[in-house]
């Protein structure tokens, strides 16, 4: 027999009210800690992936959409821009580097991005197996892509249009996996990287296949670029005579060269730009937006905007959770207070058996503490189950991996607050127990 066993026995003797207290507490802690975990994970993912990207060039449209599509690859592209014009911006002395991206196609929901080697280098992605792509239609794939699709080096696949699976397959030319990247915990993990020229060629050929009657339809698509299906490279629309030339040049050259050998009217989807100095931030976005048909979007601003939008909902949920927590504290108090009435005689009896006042005080406080601890543990369990569900959803829909384990620093504060709450809720009943008048209570019947 010890004091902990005794307070546990008392809690078990009133299972319903104990359960209610624990449930309320678990609910509150579950919500708060889930929010904290999600916030940290999303913030981590979001900030890690914009690191070093100061500005994104893309077609006019929603800047947030451009950022979501070009940096995180979780939205459709806004449209296409002229590669030549985008490269013109790079000549500005304030620009350190620019990474061209041509995307829109995917394989089983994993996006194929035509780019150059600067892109994986930017995220410090290292090759684990095989090598980086060199020729057109060779691709190097991210760790998640390889793992989830079961792709190995030498495997071949056809891309399809848009992020949705199998909507419109490009069966003229297969991609070949030539390398797999080490996990970098960046967006690279869930991408398929290849040369820009291969993306161009796929769409050249698909237009040849479709012939004249089909091209009209594609023009229509350009009108509503926000749809998933329209993130297409329509660079060839007004320059079909270049197609043959384009294909022949790039097939004989290496990727790096093939980028230089693109025709004048070649298009890309976006370009990630890093500035040499903060001065770039002051001048370039305005210049691009005012003097070119392109749009400049600033990742830091858009992500902040996104978080402040989320923030309102998060804050409301947190407020709700703290309210539930407060109610649970009251529930702990009421439960202990009520049972004290029935327990009174037993407390006096314990005094007569040699228990000190401090012992009775500790006994009641311990009851509150045990309730808080149980609520805490089930709350953490609840939040991790919630996180697991959310991470499965995020994984299947957006291919991002969220880690379920670990704790956030704020969570440790939350745990501290909860335990203090359990003690505070128990203090008044505990003082009443402390003050029990043995003789009066024992002769009161």
């Amino acid at each position: 027999m010890n004091i902990l066993k005794l307070s546990w026995a008392y809690l078990k003797a009133k299972p319903l009210s104990s359960l209610l207290s624990v449930l309320l507490l678990a609910m509150a802690i579950g919500i708060i800690s889930l929010l904290l975990m999600l916030n940290k994970q999303f913030e981590g993912q979001f900030t890690k992936n914009i690191k070093g990207v100061d500005m994104v060039l893309g077609a006019k449209g929603s800047p947030l959409q451009l950022i979501l599509s070009s940096i995180y690859h979780i939205d459709a592209p806004t449209g296409n821009i002229s590669y030549k014009q985008a490269k013109g911006i790079l000549k500005n002395p304030l620009v350190e580097k620019g990474i061209p991206l041509a995307y829109g196609d995917a394989y089983k929901g994993y996006r194929i991005v035509g780019t150059n080697q600067l892109y994986p280098q930017h995220y410090n992605a290292q090759i684990k197996e095989g090598r980086e792509w060199e020729k057109d239609f060779e691709v190097s794939i991210g760790a998640n892509t390889a793992e989830n699709l079961g792709l190995k080096i030498g495997d071949q696949f056809f891309s399809s249009h848009g992020l949705l699976d199998d909507t419109h397959k490009h069966e003229s030319q297969a991609y070949t996996v030539c390398g797999i990247y080490e996990r970098s915990n960046t967006v690279i993990d869930q991408l398929i990287l290849g040369s820009i020229a291969s993306v161009w060629k796929i769409h050249d050929e698909s237009h040849h296949e479709h012939g004249e009657h089909d091209s009209h339809e594609h023009h229509e698509h350009d009108g509503h670029e926000h749809h998933e299906h329209d993130g297409h490279e329509h660079h060839e629309h007004d320059g079909q005579e270049h197609h043959e030339h384009d294909a022949s040049t790039s097939s004989t050259t290496e990727v790096a060269e093939s980028v230089k050998a693109e025709p004048d009217n070649a298009e890309i989807t976006a370009m990630l730009v890093k500035f040499r100095s903060p001065m770039g931030l002051m001048q370039l976005p305005r210049m691009v937006n005012e003097q070119t048909p392109m749009m400049a979007a600033l990742p830091s601003i858009e992500v902040n905007r996104l978080f402040s939008l989320f923030g309102v909902g998060m804050d409301m949920l947190k407020l709700l959770a703290y309210t539930i927590m407060f109610i649970s504290a009251i529930s702990v108090f009421v439960s202990l207070f009520n049972s004290l009435k029935e327990q009174r005689y037993e407390l006096a009896l314990m005094r007569s058996m040699g228990a000190s006042r401090a012992y009775l005080f500790a006994l009641i406080v311990l009851e509150g503490l045990v309730l808080a601890l149980l609520g805490l543990l089930s709350g953490i369990l609840l939040s991790r189950i919630g996180l697991y569900v959310v991470s499965n959803f995020v994984k299947s829909d957006y291919h991002y991996n969220l880690s379920v384990g670990g704790f956030v620093k704020e969570e440790l504060y939350l745990f501290g607050i909860t335990l203090i709450l359990g003690i505070v809720a128990a203090v008044i009943p505990a003082i009443m127990a402390y003050r029990t008048d043995i003789a009066k209570t024992l002769s009161a019947n």
Partner: protein
Amino acid sequence: MLITQNLTYSYNRNTQFAFPDLDSTGLDSLLILGPSGCGKSTFLHLLGGLLKPDSGRIELNKTDLTALNGRALDKFRGQNIGIIFQKSHLIAALSVWDNLKMPCHLGNTTFDKQLANDLLEKLNIQAHKNKKPFRLSQGEQQRVNIARALMNRPKIVLADEPTSSLDDRNCLEVIDLLKTQAKEHQVQLIIVTHDNRLKEVFAKQIELMPQQTTH
């Protein structure tokens, strides 16, 4: 060995008690009789150190109870005095067996498993060992109380109306068990009661008179 001298206690100006001196050196059981309101329970609570007398002294085995305070008094009580109350007041949330562990836990002594089993055996409640108190009859609960009061091998057992809620058969059975166990464990037994059924059972008796207000 229990000695009291000039014990008085007052609840207020109108309710004041003066108690007769006790000087019992042997192990003989003592019955303190008296009608309701004569201060029987108060006397017992004073003897058990649950109340502090206004004046006078209580000496139990050469320790002056009135000189002890706070934790020291709680500890002394836990280790030297066993108390049995009118209604069985066991801890409802604990089994009979765990209830027997309580005096040892609270009095800081080691739980004597052998003694607990012996007592359960002798009091004929071995079968109820793992039951919660509410599943036992009044008589059975009172027997658990007797066992509980003896668990710390106290010097003295104080019983407050131990039989008043029991029927005749249970009353005699319980009191007999109480006497036998007290003798077996070398414990002095002091019972306060208004239960006249006990008069024939105890040789040594004191009668408390209804108190007059002194003012």
